[in-house]
Symmetry: C2
Subunit: 240 residues, 2 copies
DNA sequence: GGCAGAATTATTTTATACAATATTTGTTGC
DNA sequence: GCAACAAATATTGTATAAAATAATTCTGCC
């Protein structure tokens, strides 16, 4: 009722800390465990199918099982872990079909949002996006690692989609980015080619936005995501 | 299946007494509390903005705060409650824009799924859907209440969409049905007209599926959902 | 009166301990 | 040897209680 908490630029979303500064310790223990576990899953430190026992995780984090349980429950909502009967949790293993489905969803949702966003974009949004893109392309000379790349990639997409002011949709997309992110990381550690392709597509996308070419932006966005899907499926298909 | 549970209006106690028989239908307490809370929110027993204090809920359900917390965490993932700063949880209040957004999402996702589902539909699916529709139209003579109507309505949609075998998408749609459901209930308690309109659209949709008319089915599906959206927004707009 | 700051209250968060349940191991009879 | 059943073990689910933190009230001082 009273204060809107931390004031965010551009009416930024209320999503929990993701790209922000991890400087201050998190408010609660279960939130910290949540983030840590998620990172471990997405980074591949915890591979698919791994059994996650509560007391084991608890001692690993120097906490009791209560905050661990809560983190697991939230991760289940994000689709990163699954709870089996009374057998506890395991790191969810997505089939190729499910991975493909998630990219299809992104293509659909992000295509829709970019069309809604463009008419509402300010110059600030465009320059923000450009700035992210510069980092993404490693203009500073240094090449970012896969984790950082995924983070910046999401930030770029979010920056372009935010003006649509569709919090609910954006949240779903965020989840999809996260979920697919771990497979993209695997992929990217294999080849550097993908990055360059993505960079080109990102530039095209940004240009279309700057020119307010809604139709072109939509086309590029869908193509961008579906290409990523196809490349990923090829690599994963070969490995499985 | 679900046990009817004690129909407890607000304030009133408990799920079911501990009569020495811990053999409840639900496996765990927090799952039972989750369902009960969700039902209370969707039914309107807990109106928007209501503060949900943990110990209050705990005593109401005759449980400790632990399973209550877990239920709240999951409900937060479903978007039905929100956690404010350190002020605990409140029943989430969706703006008209957010409600509209959710229906738009449904229109997009369900349109997509129905196209994928039709080529994979067996006769069984169609007859299942027809059966649900019969119940929905109250062919048995009895008129179902708003809660039951919402349930059957979801079941109908799910039956048609399931053949697409898109679990991830279907889950999102399910959430959206739930979330929007509570507003539809308000609406439906005001007028019976909507049901008839929906029945007609459902029949059209089923016919298109039976005829494998993908394009028509898509069109009807999108229209069906967007019409529901528009009607709802008019009613809600007048009330607010 | 009004305000800074301490004390109180209200509420959430986490740890410990215990109860319930599933899984595995071990034993007996055939 | 092995099927059936019992004991042991592993693991999850929940209650109680204590610690942490925000909100509120109270008090003394100007």
């Amino acid at each position: 009722m009273k204060q809107p908490k931390t004031a965010t630029p551009h009416g930024a979303p209320i999503l929990e800390a993701d790209t922000g500064t991890p400087r201050a310790s998190y408010p609660t223990l279960h939130a910290r465990i949540l983030d840590s576990l998620r990172e471990d899953i997405l980074s591949g430190a915890l591979i698919e199918g791994t059994a996650l026992r509560q007391d084991q995780l608890a001692s690993r984090y120097g906490a009791s099982r209560i905050p661990v349980r809560e983190a697991l429950l939230q991760l289940e909502g994000e689709g990163l872990v699954r709870q089996q009967a009374n057998r506890g949790y395991t790191v969810s293993k997505l089939s190729l079909a499910e991975i493909s489905e998630e990219f299809d969803l992104r293509a659909m949702l992000e295509s829709d949002l970019i069309m809604r966003a463009i008419p509402l974009m300010k110059r600030q949004h465009l320059s923000d996006a450009r700035e992210v893109l510069d980092r993404l392309e490693g203009k500073g000379g240094k090449i970012v690692d896969a984790r950082e790349w995924g983070e910046q990639n999401w930030l770029f997409h979010r920056t372009l989609l935010e003006p649509a002011r569709r919090e609910r949709t954006l949240r779903i997309i965020h989840n999809l980015h996260r979920s697919g992110g771990r497979y993209v990381r695997m992929h990217m550690s294999l080849t550097e080619r993908t990055k360059e392709g993505a960079d080109i597509e990102h530039r095209k996308l940004l240009r279309a936005c700057a020119e307010r070419d809604v139709h072109e932006a939509r086309r590029v966005m869908a193509e961008h995501i579906l290409l990523a899907r196809d490349e990923l499926l090829v690599v994963l298909g070969n490995r499985r």
